[in-house]
């Protein structure tokens, strides 16, 4: 291969995109910081926690170097970090934060306050297990726990998607039909610390794409005084919460339309779900996060051995694209759901439960197997995914029930 000029970046024209991107070598954490640099939020408040630290350390460096004019608030806790973002966005500016695991857990009560106040804050999460046992590695227990907090949740498979989601998140959150906070997450270490090729849009294109934040109402808009966060009696509280439900439901279309707009620029689709070899697939695996790529490799190997396997990757977990999921899963022989979180005492882990509810409510009844992988940062290899497919194939053959959750990679 012909070596290109020895510059840190190379120019490349994307096959479908209309805009020339620059390929850079970035970790998932730095990719998000790069998106934040280009977005140039008004306020960023953070309390660093591994593995989201890369985002925070890189961004604070950008602030110190004057490459952004963000007001960076180094707070004393995650609770304060999200409180500062809440206040900033209520005051009328664009704010962002980053966290992981215990940090996200410590933000808990503020998560609900931000979504309830309909503030379009963006939170960059690096997925990490919750203690105990103390563990700094990736799983989805932290964000799955926040699934009912009224935040939109987008999951990235690799640094490129982490970058893409970080930009799309701003638009989705601030869309007048939505006005909800967005949590964009990526698997701790597997994505946050993996240096990969990331195609970065030109600064001016990002500036155009994210646009200016014009709040619907703001505390600092003294011409139009408003109240944020008053006590709401039972007479109105229910309806207010339902407005959040409706906004979440409208977000489904908004995510897809912003995804299309993004794809026009970059050539990279940003749909709420991503399909791989699904058309003629008989056995399907549903996944979320970085395991998707590993699953595609496994599916290629299964295909070459004659098994018609396919993949459904969930990018938008909240809102959960139920109708779309049922459309693509309907008629399949069996579906395996791969969770990366535990829900002790629940019938199944969160993703399985959602898929099951979506299918049943749409009248799609098919064999549905539950697998859990990657807890506490356990790596998942193509071999384990192949074995999971083989197990459901075998169970189908002998007519055995699939109602027991199986755990991959247990020694």
């Amino acid at each position: 291969m012909k070596p290109l000029p020895s510059d840190s970046t190379i120019e490349m024209k994307d096959a479908i995109g209309t805009v020339k991107s620059t390929a850079k070598s970035l970790s998932g954490g730095f990719a998000v910081a790069e998106a934040m640099r280009q977005t140039n939020p008004d306020v960023v408040a953070c309390y660093p926690i591994t593995p989201s630290t890369l985002v925070v350390e890189k961004f604070s460096e950008l602030v110190a170097n004057g490459e952004v004019d963000t007001e960076f608030v180094a707070v004393e806790s995650e609770h304060s970090a999200l409180s500062a973002c809440l206040a900033a966005t209520a005051a009328g500016v664009r704010s962002q934060t980053a966290s992981s695991s215990q940090g996200l857990a410590y933000m808990w009560e503020v998560l609900y306050a931000v979504s309830g106040l309909r503030l379009p804050v963006v939170l960059h999460c690096a997925n990490r297990a919750l203690s105990a046992p103390i563990n700094i590695h990736g799983d989805h227990t932290d964000t799955m726990g926040a699934r009912d907090s009224g935040w939109i949740q987008l999951y990235a498979e690799n640094p490129q998607e982490a970058y893409d989601n970080a930009l799309a998140a701003v638009r989705i959150a601030e869309h007048p039909d939505v006005l909800l906070p967005v949590l964009g997450s990526q698997d701790g270490y597997t994505v946050t610390h993996s240096v990969e090729r990331v195609d970065v849009l030109p600064d001016k294109e990002v500036k155009k794409f994210v646009g200016q934040y014009t709040p619907k109402s703001a505390l600092l808009d003294i011409e139009n005084p408003v109240t944020f966060g008053p006590l709401v009696s039972p007479k109105h509280a229910f309806e207010l919460k339902l407005q959040g439900i409706e906004a979440m439901s409208r977000a489904e279309d908004v995510i897809d339309s912003i995804g299309e707009e993004f794809a026009f620029l970059t050539g990279r689709p940003l749909d709420s779900v991503e399909l791989y070899r699904m058309e003629d697939a008989e056995l399907v695996m549903v996944v979320i996060g970085s395991v998707a790529g590993t699953a595609r490799v496994a599916i290629d190997r299964l295909r070459s051995d004659g098994t018609k396997a396919g993949l459904l990757k969930i990018r938008s977990y909240r809102p959960f694209p139920s109708t779309r999921i049922c459309e693509v899963l309907g008629g399949k022989k069996a579906v395996a759901v791969l969770d990366r979180a535990l829900s002790p005492g629940a019938p199944y882990s969160p993703l399985y439960t959602d898929i099951c509810a979506a299918l049943y409510s749409h009248g799609v009844i098919l064999p549905l197997a539950s697998f859990v992988h990657g807890i506490g940062g356990r790596d998942t290899y193509p071999k384990q995914i192949i074995e999971a497919f083989q197990r459901i194939e075998e169970k189908l053959k002998v007519g055995e029930s699939m109602n027991q959750t199986e755990y991959l990679g247990i020694t």
Partner: protein, 206 residues
């Protein structure tokens, strides 16, 4: 015994890239620049218009603790997000790891091993087990001590590695080293690293 490698040796290690994919596993200790070495390779791959992935295995790092890192370089986008379990290249930055860690584990047939050692490959590596592999050594620690005055053998190991198997171009890699180090270090340290790379490149034992 020191000798320049032959065309046949290079042919022997053509298996380093299977379907246009090279998978490297790095073994070293905290402080030796293991993670940086992987990232330099990745950035060199970027300069050559290829796809790459570089990631360390994180534990409770501290100076001197065993560290493992992985680099994948490919002509196609890389989908896998799991550690390299069947490397085509193993780089050992610290020979004191050899008794305690099975650095050759999963090494694919026809793969390449390069070890930081003044000894010859036959003296240090299990010949029977590695009979289908290309094993090389380079005295990266001495080179680093002479040039950098510190035991940071990563740039020397990169020189040794690329001399045995040119996964990325020598000049591309040197350019990345200069670019990366210039951001953090004064000119004489950058030059010392270049010298370390060059010395190792021309002193590999096979």
């Amino acid at each position: 015994m020191m000798r320049q490698h032959t065309v046949n040796d290079i042919k022997k290690c053509s298996m380093v890239e299977q379907n246009g994919l090279a998978e490297i596993r790095w073994h070293g200790r905290g402080g030796q620049g293991v993670v940086t070495a992987g990232e330099i390779m990745a950035e060199a791959a970027l300069d050559e218009g290829r796809y790459f992935q570089a990631f360390p295995e994180f534990g409770a790092e501290r100076t001197g603790a065993p560290v493992r890192a992985y680099t994948r370089i490919s002509d196609e986008p890389i989908d896998l997000h799991c550690p390299v379990s069947e490397p085509s290249v193993v780089v050992v930055l610290d020979p004191t790891l050899l008794p305690s860690i099975d650095v050759y584990h999963g090494l694919s047939n026809g793969g390449v091993v390069i070890i930081n050692s003044p000894k010859s490959p036959s003296e240090i590596a299990p010949q029977q087990r590695l009979k289908n592999h290309l094993v090389a050594t380079v005295d990266a620690t001495s080179i680093a001590m002479n040039t950098l005055k510190r035991n940071i053998p990563n740039t020397a190991m990169l020189g040794g590695l690329l001399s045995v198997t040119p996964i990325v171009g020598k000049d591309t890699c040197l350019n990345v080293i200069v670019r990366r180090l210039s951001m953090r270090f004064p000119q004489h340290i950058v030059e010392a690293n270049k010298t370390a790379f060059e010395q190792a490149f021309s002193s590999v034992q096979l």
